[in-house]
Symmetry: C2
Subunit: 217 residues, 2 copies
């Protein structure tokens, strides 16, 4: 049971609020480093690139986390956010398709700083298998069920080429993974109840820029 002691109805909380909580948390981590003890919604918001109404609204879904007239206690708010986001325990993840993007993710401190640990990588290329790359042990994809169980892996990250995305997804689900982050460009389908998928399309983001700029030179 969480320390907030409040049952929160997730249904009414916008997805975007959760994404923003992650931004606020990063800002708070920085404020902790800066030895800031108390801070206003103004300051957190502007450091996070968001307005202060939005921040207060976002936090209000989870109870009264600040003090009126004063602000928020940096350490306490950080811990609250970590609790809300489920970061008080460790999360074990794996990456399917161990190319450059997988390497980048494995070495990216943002993940393990928040308690998300890459415990295994899977590939089909024999030159990679049974090696450690970027600190991650690589296995053949056919071993996925065994390794996911052994390493208690709950999260799967897909970084395979376009045509193998759905297969990677199906194998992850079959192996028992509960959350999937998909960087392969095609949108994937998840049939199984209780499994969450998030697609991240790197190309789509840059096409948004080309759209905005197309008439400007």
């Amino acid at each position: 049971m969480g320390g907030l002691g409040v049952a929160i109805d997730k249904k009414n909380i916008p997805q975007e609020t959760i994404i923003r909580l992650a931004y606020y948390l990063r800002t708070l981590n920085w404020l902790v480093q800066e030895k800031r003890r108390v801070v206003s919604s103004q300051i957190i918001a502007s450091l996070s690139g968001i307005n202060s109404y939005q921040l207060r609204k976002d936090l209000s879904y989870f109870g009264q986390l600040g003090k009126r007239g004063v602000g928020y206690e940096v350490n306490r708010l950080k811990e609250y956010l970590e609790e809300i986001l489920g970061l008080q325990k460790s999360w074990f993840a794996c990456i399917v398709g161990f190319g450059n993007l997988a390497k980048a993710i494995s070495l990216y401190k943002g993940f393990y700083e928040q308690g998300v640990f890459i415990k295994a990588g899977f590939d089909i290329q024999s030159s990679k298998i049974n090696k450690k790359i970027a600190g991650v042990q690589i296995y053949h994809i056919d071993d996925i069920e065994r390794v996911v169980k052994k390493e208690k892996i709950i999260l799967g990250i897909i970084t395979v080429p376009e045509q193998f995305g759905q297969d990677a997804c199906d194998r992850l689900i079959k192996a028992g993974v509960k959350g999937i982050l998909n960087f392969s460009p095609r949108r994937l389908k998840v049939e199984k109840e209780g499994v969450i998928l998030k697609d991240v399309d790197l190309t789509a983001q840059i096409l948004y820029l080309t759209y905005c700029l197309k008439d400007k030179g």
Copy 2:
């Protein structure tokens, strides 16, 4: 002047619509490969992981692109979308901070297939400078103004560590870049009029998964 022959008021078009157009375009590219000539909103939508109402609404912002009772002509719609997204000309981009993520992006065919070409990489590490990595010529960051001008670079991609993000952003703007895609974890600030910034936070995405799963295992 665009072939659609219609002036479109960008103000009323949701950002999310543009991101989805990029998904539809990918689906259409696949349908072209499959030699499909005509296709219904149903099919494009389901292949893109979106419902058909949404797809038709999204397209309707840009005019009548289909035929009632029939569907959409695959090739024509693809060309329309490319035009809307500004992909009928080439876009030259650079990457600041040439680590694994930069390598992954450089080798990712999704970019150059859409006419976005990575023309230069910038770093401070002398072992990388004046080499080609992943097919991209690497320069010292101090050369950025010269190279951006010479190579007619309009887009900048930031993949530096957290603490250097804003500096990378400022230098890109000073060099004359008009669109910035930021993968470094802190939110960046752009003062200059006419420059577009899009932040992509890789960690935030996985924290969304931990949030959803925290009470389930």
